[in-house]
Symmetry: C2
């Protein structure tokens, strides 16, 4: 007998989890679409040459690669930005520009799972390709903010910076500065000194305080104006001159969103990257976008109790006492469904009531409708709310009003 | 420069296609959930030993298999039934039984693409695991029918049979009989003779006519009663004693759904398979379910013009004549979005009007709202329906009523 198990870093999403993930995905999709972003889907497998070398050595190492049946070198989707670049190059005549697309698909990385990372995880990206307009930067930030608002997250900060502010610093210094959140000022000071990026601790501290004193660039000031016109709450907006973002492909605006009380890191990051999308074309193609860390988002929403109590999509289980009440139950199931209530019939009429109720309980169905011989004669139904334990017997015609579709 | 291209048999879904696919998926999900089916997601990659040998030699050949970074033999999801079996075995204590789940995920098969087959395609499965109740068979057929009703398909036939009716025939004969639809009676007769499955043409014809004369089993008669109680239209139901279904794991009820006028084949197939799900456990676990062929479904819906004209999720493009009208346009965009209309701002205020309109046209946005200096002064907006070419100027407050959210 083969042991039933999943690979390390890969997850099953059983109904209770999958239902909640679907809830969040549909909120994100609704928000994206309300601002005119359209969905894009790309294949899980691509030519290795399309993906390889685009993510640095680390990326090449973590990418799932193999030879397919035609001896082609292929690789599993590693992110959604390189496929976007390919799509923009491949269908440039068919797409409207600026091209506003969102993409919500899994990506695969053979990463170390001990850091709480997964090898298959969902990415949620939104990007605007083909314009340098600062309005696009503002729209992208507004979109990310709208997503969090739609999910009822309140205490979040959108930390924004302009890569121009960091232009006098070396890549190594920027990478170190980027750790301020994680290892605090002292940690960054030591690292700057230890890596010989500055000569003394004093110099390191001056470097950091010098950054903190930086003023907004003209571009950032204009962005701020747009964001406020777009209706963003000032309290969410933070100018953070020490924000660097690890990736070196950003060219001006960069931002990260942090949720107060959620310490695992930012739930969203993005910015403008004007040199990357053109990798498959002869010309540069400007772009700005963001990615939500879907697992972190779910975690933050769970911690803040913002996910609905929704263990199942089933709202009512219609239970016949025995086979005798089956016909009446079928009619009630149809009636409830017609009224827009997700309803199901218990499929084994002859088992004990106890087992039927246990099914509702285990699945998390909020209402049971029980039909016995009396109910059939009197054309009534006994409905029980399994959360509140309240129970009432009422005419069948009134049943849909007694059940609240979750 | 690397050529931007996809692998043969793999597809990008650009916004226009992806939007339509999303439309169909959401109808299927709604229907599944209205009957109490919950979503399940399993990983793209599994241990090869979990998948291998379950689909016969052909399956093993077409499966994408490779060694991962930990030298484990892994394979890409080939169908959703074997992962379902694994899940049922792995979490048997956590799941409610009967377990009613649907699963809509891509699967991968290195098939011959010349037959119009794809190497990555979406499967849409619904199954009830853990009961032999014939009500489950009826519910599964009702669910498939409800999906087609929800998609407004009308002329479809649900061809139903019971494997018991075919029990006196060898596997080879059943496989040949199964081709009646494709190669007609004459073709089947020749094949039966040529393969020495019967001795003469007369015998072959007798075999076929004998099958046609078969009566429903008791089980099928009871199923028919249930289906009619469940509200299925009699005209959709066809008892087809020659229906065999290729797969040999079915144990009693089998069915296929064909759409009149759509000749590429059935869009849905399923049945009861009581011996398969238990492959990772010590006991047999009964199950009944179906799979929609998503690509065929899309094709049939397209042919019958049942998909909405929905090129984009964007309903209105708000266009400032120039930068001067930007603030007014931002307010209008916010107003429309608040009214529940998917609206976007044209992001480059200073380009020519022609280019702005071209964007709406290429993207397929149904309405443009044009704001010039006069509109700003008079607090009006000029709204144009790009399909009907109708245009009117009206007070901004009345704008949301002039736009129909698609």
């Amino acid at each position: 007998m083969i042991k039933p198990q999943t690979l390390k870093g890969f997850r099953d999403f059983l109904p209770k989890n999958s239902t909640l993930r679907d809830f969040v995905i549909s909120k994100l999709k609704d928000t994206f679409e309300s601002s005119g972003f359209d969905p894009l889907e790309t294949p899980a497998l691509e030519y290795e040459s399309i993906l390889l070398g685009k993510y640095g050595k680390e990326g090449d190492k973590l990418m799932y690669r193999f030879k397919d049946h035609g001896d082609r070198n292929v690789a599993l989707r590693y992110d959604q930005t390189v496929p976007l670049s390919r799509v923009v190059a491949q269908y440039s005549n068919d797409l409207p520009f600026p091209f506003k697309r969102y993409q919500i698909q899994p990506v695969w990385r053979a990463d170390n799972t001990q850091k709480g990372r997964f090898r298959e995880f969902l990415q949620c990206d939104a990007d605007i390709v083909g314009t340098t307009s600062l309005l696009a930067d503002a729209e992208i930030i507004r979109l990310a903010s709208n997503c969090l608002d739609r999910l009822k997250l309140k205490n979040y900060s959108i930390c924004i910076n302009d890569r121009e502010i960091l232009q006098d610093y070396s890549k190594d210094i920027i990478t170190t500065i980027d750790k301020l959140d994680k290892i605090s000022v002292d940690g960054v000071v030591s690292e700057l000194v230890n890596r010989n990026l500055v000569k003394t601790e004093v110099e390191a501290k001056q470097l950091i305080s010098g950054l903190h004193e930086k003023k907004m660039t003209e571009r950032l000031e204009q962005l701020w104006t747009y964001l406020q016109k777009f209706g963003l709450d000032k309290n969410h907006l933070v100018f953070q001159p020490t924000l660097a973002r690890g990736l070196d492909y950003y060219t001006s605006t960069i931002f990260e969103i942090k949720i107060a009380g959620y310490s695992a890191g930012s739930v969203c990051g993005g910015g403008r990257y004007d040199d990357l999308i053109g990798m498959f074309t002869e010309t540069k193609i400007p772009a700005v976008g963001f990615a939500f860390g879907f697992d972190r988002l779910i975690e933050a929403l769970t911690e803040q109790k913002l996910l609905p109590i929704l263990e199942t999509n089933s709202t009512a289980l219609v239970i016949p006492f025995s086979n005798t009440e089956l016909d009446a139950c079928i009619e009630i199931m149809k009636q409830l469904q017609t009224a827009g209530i997700n309803a199901e019939l218990y499929l084994e009429p002859d088992v004990k009531l106890d087992k039927k109720l246990k099914y509702a309980d285990k699945k998390g169905v909020p209402y049971v409708v029980i039909i016995g011989p009396d109910e059939v004669i009197q054309k009534t139904a006994t409905v029980k709310n399994l959360k509140t334990k309240q129970q009432e017997t009422l005419p069948v015609a009134k049943l849909p009003h007694a059940i609240i579709q979750s």
